[in-house]
């Protein structure tokens, strides 16, 4: 997994390993990573990468400088005005007040703000695809929620595709339209979260937990109540309430059980 998301930063031509046939193809959106002549800079512009704990990559004297770093790297011909506008946009999108933070040192900000600045530093070039490795790692529940909200608004406004790497299955169930499960360097399942979390085998094989809603669904099933939701909290509650109203068989719960969905 790690090696996979690092590919866009790969320096040289990817060398196929011995056991792989020479037909091995490694392509990111038309960029052939097995070809030496590929324009890696263009690839990196198209695919934005936010690594784990991105706040550790901050270095500049001011927030403005740090966010503008990537922008200037990819297009040195930009006018000062354009840079300023882009940086302002990026900082606003991540939920920071441009005028308040632009001249501050990134090191005097809070942890959450640092992470926002770091994310702004990646999205400032408006990449089509944004890849984030554990974007919510180390944040408190509120911070996690804010981060996810931020990613949704980015997805709506700027980036066609947002890919996150996560070990938090609730995060995946709530936020993703498609998910892939990796185990020992192989994709062992790919599909909608609904498909993946409905199949016990896949999650078990990967040693994964399932979202809380899936656990409740499982428990209800043993009590004779089958609810088919897509495992997001909103959908799960809606389906459960509907079921309760129509009063299907088995909706009358046994005396000692099922409190968790009361």
């Amino acid at each position: 997994m790690n090696a996979l998301i690092k590919l866009p930063t790969a320096e040289r031509k990817y060398k196929p390993k011995k056991h792989e046939s020479s037909k091995t193809v490694l392509r990111v959106d038309g960029f052939d990573l097995t070809d030496k002549t590929t324009d890696f800079k263009a690839l990196r512009k198209k695919v934005g990468m936010v690594f784990q704990y991105p706040e550790y990559q901050l270095f500049a004297e001011t927030v403005f400088e740090d966010v503008a770093f990537g922008l200037k790297n990819f297009d040195s011909a930009l006018l000062t005005e354009e840079v300023r506008a882009a940086v302002k946009d990026a900082l606003t999108v991540v939920g920071l007040d441009y005028d308040e933070v632009k001249n501050r040192s990134p090191f005097e900000l809070s942890g959450g703000q640092k992470r926002r600045v770091a994310i702004a530093g990646v999205i400032v070039t408006k990449p089509e695809i944004l890849v984030l490795d554990e974007p919510a790692a180390g944040l408190d529940p509120l911070g996690k929620e804010e981060t996810m909200r931020l990613l949704h608004s980015l997805h709506e406004k700027w980036c066609k595709t947002v890919i996150i790497v996560s070990h938090d299955m609730d995060e995946i169930a709530e936020n993703c339209t498609r998910a892939a499960i990796f185990a020992e360097g192989k994709v062992i399942g790919i599909g909608t979260p609904k498909e993946l979390f409905s199949s016990d085998e896949i999650t078990k094989a990967a040693g994964l937990d399932v979202p809380f809603t899936a656990k409740v669904t499982e428990k209800l099933k043993t009590l004779g109540v089958e609810i088919s939701s897509d495992f997001t909290t909103a959908d799960f509650i809606e389906k459960t309430l509907k079921r309760a109203k129509t009063g299907g068989a088995g909706m009358r719960l046994p005396k000692n059980g099922g409190q968790e969905n009361a």
Partner: protein
């Protein structure tokens, strides 16, 4: 970045591995003295022979030994070229434009290159066959007499072992930061000297900050476990000399004696 083999232990169960770290440190110091005492190719040959003997009994793969040389390739080539062109001598071999190469310069260059090789390789043997912990234990034990003049021997040994321990961690960290900045379009490979030096700043600053952060965390962790320096600490592993160490001292003693004799009875190259 990953070629740095200094401080990288190569686990094996060889004769050299089993030697007392103090022996190995003293051996290395004596060996370095011997290499510097060597004045001609006979003496240097004796040093090389001893090195080959040690390497053979160290169980270390040749490839991991050579990795330590890789790091100084540039230095080696650079000094060799300087010596070759600028060392004065009488027997001229090549003269072309402003370049003059003399026979003496050729000898001198080869001699210095071999000497540098031996120095680096012998130090590499020490770090490859001795764990950082054993190494600092050895140094602490050897410096014990300095305690008498209130020199903080234990603290010094601690600082050294922490520094050694942090080399691979900081190497990893550098790789991570480089990837992150590369993803933001940073370019470390092209451009002139000034541009390249400037390109290092976005790596260096996060790296220094992370080093301080880790130092803070380590300090807190040590405090939390009531670490209080040298006063009442006992050792988990006691160092003891054995017949191996006696043999090692005998070998290095013979080497130095031989080289001193060679100094007296044979002509010098440098």
């Amino acid at each position: 970045m990953r070629e740095v083999s200094f401080g990288q232990y190569y686990p094996a169960n060889s004769f050299v591995h089993k030697c007392d770290p103090r022996t190995k440190i003293l051996f290395l110091i004596a060996y370095i003295v011997a290499v510097f005492l060597a004045q001609n190719f006979y003496a240097l040959g004796a040093c090389a022979a001893v090195f080959i003997l040690i390497a053979a009994f160290s169980g270390v793969k040749i490839s991991s030994l050579l990795r330590s040389v890789k790091a100084i390739t540039f230095l080696l080539v650079f000094t060799a070229l300087l010596n070759l062109f600028f060392h004065s001598g009488e027997t001229v071999l090549v003269q072309w434009w402003i370049i003059t190469i003399t026979q003496e310069a050729v000898y001198f260059t080869i001699f210095l290159a071999v000497r540098l090789f031996l120095l680096v390789l012998s130090s590499a043997i020490l770090t490859l066959t001795t764990t950082p912990v054993a190494l600092t234990d050895g140094i602490e034990s050897l410096l014990k007499p300095l305690k008498w003049i209130r020199f903080p021997v234990h603290e010094l040994a601690l600082i050294m072992s922490i520094a050694l321990r942090f080399i691979p961690i900081l190497t990893d960290e550098t790789g991570r930061i480089m990837n992150a900045q590369k993803a933001r379009g940073a370019d470390f490979e092209t451009g002139g000297l000034v541009k390249r030096v400037k390109a290092i700043i976005p790596i260096l600053i996060p790296l220094i900050i992370s080093a301080f952060r880790r130092a803070d965390e380590l300090g807190d962790a040590m405090d939390a476990r009531c670490y209080s320096g040298s006063k009442v600490r006992t050792k988990y592993k006691k160092l003891t000399f054995s017949w191996r160490d006696l043999l090692a001292f005998f070998v290095v003693g013979a080497l130095i004696a031989g080289i001193v004799l060679l100094r007296i009875y044979t002509a010098a190259v440098i």
